[in-house]
């Protein structure tokens, strides 16, 4: 059985990470067995969870049914290589290869691909999981992996890699065994970047083939999982984003991949009913700046709601919370409960704690 997937998407600074943590804690209080996969959780949030998060999932103290992990490119890569490669010598050579280190750095900016592979790996390791809550990188780049694996796959199977592999296999640094066309291309590359670099590159592709193919298979499974009826794509927006541009952009990027959001979460709303009262009362002159600010804020959020209402299948409005306690544990759970109560009627099999 596939666990329910809950993916939070949204522009930077809208509160995705905090929401994801609260939501995971709340789902566990309703008896679900929950995983929380984060991208870049701050120190304060890890303090609130009471644990230092790592590449592999750790138990959250005081919430027995929640395990959490963060995406750490170098560690994940190393684990995947060890799992796919049994030859000690080859493994040592790979870990010395400059391209292997560089791949880790590169993946550090490709958290979308990593996160996709990680969620599938998580279920392989813990088949009893019922819910997986995923925090994503800001903006549209979070779903880049829906397109990029095709590029990576095309590369792995490309002619250049075949040629480079041939050089490694035969130890032929003079490129004599290659056809003229291939020799010209590889030779020119060596001219641009140096022969040693081309050699390292060739070695790298031979060594990394098996783990890379396994990673791509996982990313492909993640793509299918996103299409599943029980998967919830949750777009988070701030009540300040003029026209809810960030959320609308994500929604259309999802639609282009045949996906649709379950709900739009408008996070940190000021009490909307204040607008009517502020319009009708006399304002003392020493309160001008604050009241003008409050009115502008209320107008901005009304405009965001109106924009989202034209296309969102469901809207969850979450109230603003005092920032200094937002990241503390009780506030986190309360926030998550508010979200899970609103969402549970729309998600098959999801129980909400009272």
């Amino acid at each position: 059985m596939t666990p329910r997937l809950h993916v939070l998407l949204g522009a930077g600074g809208v509160g995705k990470t905090t929401l994801a943590a609260g939501y995971a804690l709340a789902l566990s209080t309703a008896g679900h067995r929950v995983g929380l996969l984060g991208i870049d959780p701050s120190r304060r949030l890890q303090d609130a969870l009471g644990v230092e998060l790592a590449d592999l999932d750790t138990q959250i103290p005081g919430a027995r049914a929640v395990r959490a992990a963060i995406v750490q490119p170098h560690q994940a890569l190393q684990r995947w290589v060890r799992e796919a490669c049994t030859d000690r010598g080859a493994l040592d050579r790979l870990e010395q290869n400059p391209f292997f280190t560089a791949l880790g750095d590169r993946l550090a900016t490709a958290t979308d691909v990593l996160a996709a592979a990680r969620i599938v790996e998580w279920v392989e390791r813990d088949p009893a999981l019922t819910d997986l809550v995923v925090d994503t990188a800001p903006g549209v780049s979070a779903i880049d992996f829906l397109r990029s694996p095709r590029h990576i796959e095309a590369l792995v199977k490309s002619r250049l890699i075949r040629w480079l592999r041939a050089i490694v296999r035969t130890g032929d640094e003079q490129l004599g065994g290659l056809r003229v066309g291939a020799r010209r291309v590889v030779g020119a590359l060596a001219g641009i970047a140096g022969a040693r670099m081309v050699g390292d590159l060739a070695d790298f592709f031979v060594l990394v083939r098996a783990p890379l193919e396994r990673m791509l298979a996982r990313v492909e499974r993640a793509r299918q999982w996103l299409q599943h009826a029980d998967t919830s794509l949750l777009l988070v927006t701030s009540p300040r984003d003029t026209g809810a541009v960030g959320a609308a952009e994500l929604a259309s990027a999802l639609r282009a991949e045949g996906l649709a959001p379950r709900a739009v979460i408008v996070n940190r709303m000021w009490p909307p009913e204040l607008a009517a009262e502020l319009a009708s009362i006399a304002i003392p002159s020493n309160a001008d700046a604050f009241i003008a600010y409050a009115r502008a804020q209320l107008e901005a959020q009304a405009a965001v709601l109106a924009a989202v209402e034209t296309w969102a299948p469901m809207i969850v409005a979450l109230p603003s919370r005092p920032i200094l306690i937002e990241a503390r544990r009780p506030a986190l759970v309360e926030l998550g409960l508010a979200l899970s109560r609103a969402l549970s009627p729309a998600i098959p099999g999801l129980r909400s704690a009272s």
Binding site: A11, S158, V185, R196
Partner: protein
């Protein structure tokens, strides 16, 4: 609101360093707004300015009423150009316009297997991005009749964009030789030179963002070899919630008890933001810290203009 500090010269005075200004900060802090405002301010002072973005789609051009800008140079306001980096075009410009090796470009770089490799090659796009900045400040005038007094870089949000600065050392450590090694050395020299390269860091008066800004500062300093020229605190409410206590007028307001309570807690929240901002200011060691007042619900270009005015008054 501007805090005057020891430095009596205007923020980014004409002719003052640096030539290339990186704008760093995580997604959502208003990095593009700051980049556009700095660009607008300098262009209004008479400099020729280019904003270099690296985004899926350009956001700054449309604020000024232009269609989203691609990897070309488009003037969106007098003396203010925008370009959005794309690896394909950077490769073409490098091999065809700069090296003048069109044949190699067409037979090797554009060859399908190589193009695919370049698509996913680690660090390549970053290297070409930095290489283009180097070219813009050196050869662009001679080779392409492009002259810019100042280049503002709206750095990518991922990993704070600071990982861009790691590149020359990463590529250098890979044992590169040939052309790539030469280019890498040039870029590394450019980044290390305070006359050439500087950074501003954008923050918000929110606990999580402040934490990240304080982590980011020493990283930028270490990578560049010199500290950022300024920290910008966006969406400041310090001028709105000035009292340290609950304001007396709240209790005399002719509103319902519910509304008074709600306004009270909103005011408390703004006060908390103001105190976070003070905390950030007290913990920063950089000379210039500029707060930009929060302006909910205003159109992006209005916010850019107001931000530019704040910078104009800053010292």
């Amino acid at each position: 609101m501007v805090e005057t500090v020891q430095n009596p010269t205007p923020f980014l005075a004409k002719g003052a360093a640096p030539r290339i200004l990186f704008v760093f900060g995580k997604g959502g802090v208003g990095r593009s707004t700051v980049a556009a405002a700095v660009g607008l301010l300098l262009a209004e002072r008479g400099e020729r300015v280019l904003i270099v973005e690296w985004a899926v789609a350009d956001t700054i051009g449309p604020w000024f009423g232009a269609v989203p800008v691609g990897p070309t140079y488009v003037e969106i306001a007098p003396r203010l150009d925008v370009t959005n980096f794309a690896l394909d075009e950077a490769l073409r410009a490098y091999f065809v316009d700069h090296l003048r090796v069109e044949l190699i470009y067409r037979r090797v770089i554009r060859a399908r297997p190589v193009a695919r490799l370049l698509d996913v090659a680690p660090g390549l796009a970053e290297m070409f991005f930095l290489g283009q900045l180097w070219w813009l400040t050196t050869l662009a005038e001679r080779e392409a009749q492009l002259h810019f007094d100042r280049i503002i870089v709206d750095a990518p949000a991922t990993g704070h964009g600071v990982s861009l600065l790691d590149l020359p050392s990463t590529v250098g450590a890979m044992g590169t030789a040939g052309l790539l090694a030469v280019e890498t050395r040039r870029v590394a020299d450019m980044l290390a030179d305070p006359a050439q390269t500087g950074a501003v860091v954008v923050s918000l008066p929110e606990p999580l963002v402040v934490d990240e800004t304080l982590e980011l500062m020493p990283r930028v300093t270490a990578r560049l070899g010199h500290p950022p020229v300024a920290v910008i605190i966006n969406r400041s409410v310090a001028a709105i919630a000035t009292d340290d206590t609950r304001p007396a007028w709240l209790d005399t307001l002719a509103a319902s008890a519910h509304a008074r309570a709600a306004l009270g807690s909103m005011h408390d929240e703004l006060r908390a933001h103001a105190s976070i901002e003070r905390e950030l200011r007290s913990r920063l060691e950089v000379g210039t810290v500029i707060s930009v007042a929060d302006q909910p619900g205003r159109a992006p270009l209005d916010v850019v203009r107001a931000t530019a005015r704040t910078f104009a008054e800053a010292r």
